[in-house]
Symmetry: C2
Subunit: 119 residues, 2 copies
DNA sequence: TGAACATATGAACAGTTATTCATATATTTA
DNA sequence: TAAATATATGAATAACTGTTCATATGTTCA
């Protein structure tokens, strides 16, 4: 999966000017990596379902599992990933832990995606 | 990976009202699936790099491979996925095939993601 | 303090996916 | 038409990932 420095292109005629211009405007590799990692988090049905469930209300793990018809363990594993990406946060209330969307970024990203999907 | 109808939750006290409300506002399963599939396409460094390369200009496969330091085959495989998701389109010009972003949806989705990543 | 409850987590397994390699298709040009 | 060039694609492999199962952690209440 890593980008290797291989003999990459067997074409004879490269438009070097185009290549240089494109390279000049590309973001840094680590930004591209982080961006891909972010979208990867959205790129799973379970996590999308969790994010939608949290769209309008704070919910505890147990209710999430019930709502999405999943095991508590599976939900917890995915919540961990969502939390590491700072898409969701949580707070404890007694025995239960409530999760919620960290901020409106998530809603906007999802909204943009929905526009593409439902057009 | 499929959502199974298992005994999902061993909690005693479910907030049924919350569960029902959340379920009522969830999009259809197939919309959620499509949305996850869309983000999955963005969730790979190679494809993100291709999309950024196409951000400002139409580029042929060969120049893409050169720009991204990849084999032509790997680029073609990923372009196929991007095309199936209608994120990119292409046109032939003689021997070469130029790829370009289908519309501004892609740019907006990427822009939203960048906001989250670079904050 | 101990039992019950809610959540988190590590290991293992199964399914998925990106790249490579070899080769096929399609266009141009000599 | 044959050769050269540009792109596409199928099969195989290696790496990655989501779920399950078993269990650990942390909180409340009797």
């Amino acid at each position: 999966m890593a980008i290797q420095d291989v003999e990459h292109c067997d074409c004879t005629e490269i438009h070097q000017k185009t290549v240089d211009q494109v390279l000049a405007q590309m973001p840094e590799e680590d930004v591209l990596y982080d961006l891909a990692e972010l979208f990867k988090v959205f790129g799973d049905s379970t996590r999308i379902r969790i994010l939608f469930a949290l769209y309008g209300a704070d919910i505890c793990v147990c209710d999430l599992a019930e709502t999405l018809n999943m095991t508590q363990s599976a939900v917890s594993h995915q919540l961990k990933i969502l939390k590491q990406s700072r898409l969701v946060s949580n707070r404890r209330e007694g025995k239960q832990i409530y999760y919620f969307l960290t901020d409106d970024h998530v809603r906007r990203i999802i909204a943009q995606g929905m526009e593409h999907v439902t057009e």
